[in-house]
Symmetry: C4
Subunit: 224 residues, 4 copies
């Protein structure tokens, strides 16, 4: 288009830094505004304690979604430590991740609302299916991101461990499946089962994740 | 005014960095709080699924606005990679961009609300005109920014490609016009047409944009 | 307390950077969540356009507060370019600035609400006095900050222009006074006068401010 | 797992930076969205001034929580200046700190709501116990963080003053106890006592904290 192109090196470096800043901002906001779903419950005089207790599904949902976004952030951080430049496809995949993560507050509120009314009614089943669906799509957005990295290894640091992308894909598939199963169980058997899975999954991913800072491989190295 | 002036070099450098941080923060927040417009719908017992379905305009609006802000952020990022110092006029233009972008949550909410009640009524027409107007003004704010850069090339890196500013201007005019046409069609024919344009435009800009990282020019360079 | 103290140099440098990040975050959030005060107005079918028009005080308040926070951010940026380390007093002054700025959304909402009901009634007068009071206290928080810098010049870069702190003090006093006068006029004569001043003052400060990047002193230098 | 591991040095450094950015973002958002709990009160025409006065507990709660989060941020900043790499346990402890801090907006709103209705009723007592409980757990989350640092000194800069971790532990225990006592007094005697403690404690910690930038030890050093 023009002969005087902007130097590639500086562009891509700066770009990664700003994509990280932007993403970190969205994760931080997404995780923090979840608290806006916790409000002082309407109650008759002298019945505040009871009203606070009866909205326990809101607390559970808050904890589940907070944990999920926090683990997603850690995942994102691990990915971008390895990424050294971004192309349009990676921007698109990253937007997909951010879009689904930012949207999590919506099903969280729906679950809190539905289970407060009736913990095992038809609406509660619909609500956990909605949550499970978005949580599952969140995993699929990571699959897209890993897929793109796998096809464009030049976007990553050359020293990245070869197992990084396959592991990421595997974990994404596993997560998508686990949330889908939780949704089915929540719909067919009991919404409380789904709620339990929503709490356990992020903790499981946090604890079991390989490649985390303190994750010691067979060789005992601590770097990744 | 005084003989001991603060050194210009450090000032302008730091300034650009903080303007980027501040702008990134606003974009990240603007895009994330859009989810607050998605709430658990009021519904009769057992009718949650139906109530969730009937607020589909809210989901469409959420997606359209999320995409728009994400693309705006990418645009902003591309601009500030090229900017090396800021004067007051550039700060003013940047504030104008931020102001209109931050305000997008308002017409998004109005569209969601109006189309939920009646997808083709008079209120829906008013709502899409409001959205189209602000979206169009957002494009004009970019026109102001490019215009200022065009008149003050010393604010940019000397190696910036000559076509950068004219391209930016052209895309801004095209965007302003496209949103205006969408508003007119939405008002005269059907609000759904406008809604369709609101979804398509950001995707079109994302895909078609030249100067994006992976945008390969005739020479096959990947730098810009 | 201990003989092995943490090295001062690294501490203070890092500290300034994080105080800037934290402050920038608060300014960005404070300015962006103002939009949450703009909501789809309740209206009868077919009366959306009218309802949108009748909440014009909300738009004016949004614009006034957005501009004010943006100018405050610019001010803060100019201050922290000159600050090279922070002591506890400066942290306290900075918190005071952040506290009052973050709180501005509250009187903005009260003004929007009161003027929508009755643009010149008793409630509107109360509302503009509330806004003017907080806006005035915001200026006083800057006075505290400049005062602290004046008494602890070792916290600033040695090359800072000598007029910086006295100018800042003068502008803070002027702002505090101007908002106070606006509140008195809004209470005694008409809330609309106050509203006009709320819009004009940030613009005036933005345009008239010396020490801004492009502000050319008599010597024509552009550094500060 | 693989022979080509990602270099440890770069990973941990980058990781600390992003954990700081993410945490700073959460603190900034948590402290800023507190203002959303301050809304234009419902009132009869001409009674706005009275309505604004009668929601004074909301202002007090806002001030108490803003101060608390600001002090927590300062604490966090002091900790991360000393931390040079993160393992999974430190990430978990940090998430615990962020989780409790982000949740503070909830009891703040409950306190504001309950005390507005009846400043010394049963609901007000429940509300201050809720606030005191979370505020106390916030201190315990810091205890976990200091405990982890104490057991993994290799995560910190080798030059960190030996008293840093023991001091942090002591302050955490003291804070947890003080908030617990405030809750008990607020429940048994008067919610206003608890409210007073909620305001005083952050100020006390800010003023009395050792290790703050300007905190001069016996030797008069200013580094920590």
């Amino acid at each position: 288009m023009s002969q005087h192109r902007f130097p590639a090196r500086r562009f891509s470096r700066s770009e990664t830094a700003r994509a990280e800043t932007f993403s970190d901002g969205i994760f931080a906001i997404a995780v923090t505004i979840l608290v806006l779903g916790l409000t002082a419950p309407a109650h008759r005089p002298g019945r505040l304690a009871h009203a606070l207790e009866s909205q326990w599904p809101a607390y559970v949902g808050y904890f589940a979604s907070f944990s999920y976004v926090a683990v997603i952030w850690l995942n994102h951080h691990q990915a971008f430590v390895r990424i050294r430049s971004m192309d349009r496809g990676l921007h698109a995949a990253n937007f997909f991740v951010l879009f689904t993560t930012a949207a999590l507050a919506f099903p969280t509120g729906v679950v809190a609302d539905a289970l407060r009314s009736d913990v095992s009614g038809a609406d509660a089943r619909v609500a956990v299916v909605l949550y499970a669906s978005l949580a599952s799509v969140m995993c699929l957005s990571w699959l897209v991101l890993y897929h793109h990295l796998g096809r464009h290894p030049e976007l990553m640091d050359p020293e990245v461990e070869p197992a990084y992308v396959p592991h990421g894909r595997l974990r994404s598939w596993a997560g998508a499946l686990a949330y889908a199963v939780a949704g089915v169980l929540g719909c067919l058997i009991s919404p409380l089962i789904a709620l339990g899975v929503f709490i356990v999954l992020p903790a499981f991913y946090f604890v079991s994740s390989e490649g985390l800072p303190a994750g010691r491989g067979p060789a005992g190295d601590t770097g990744a």
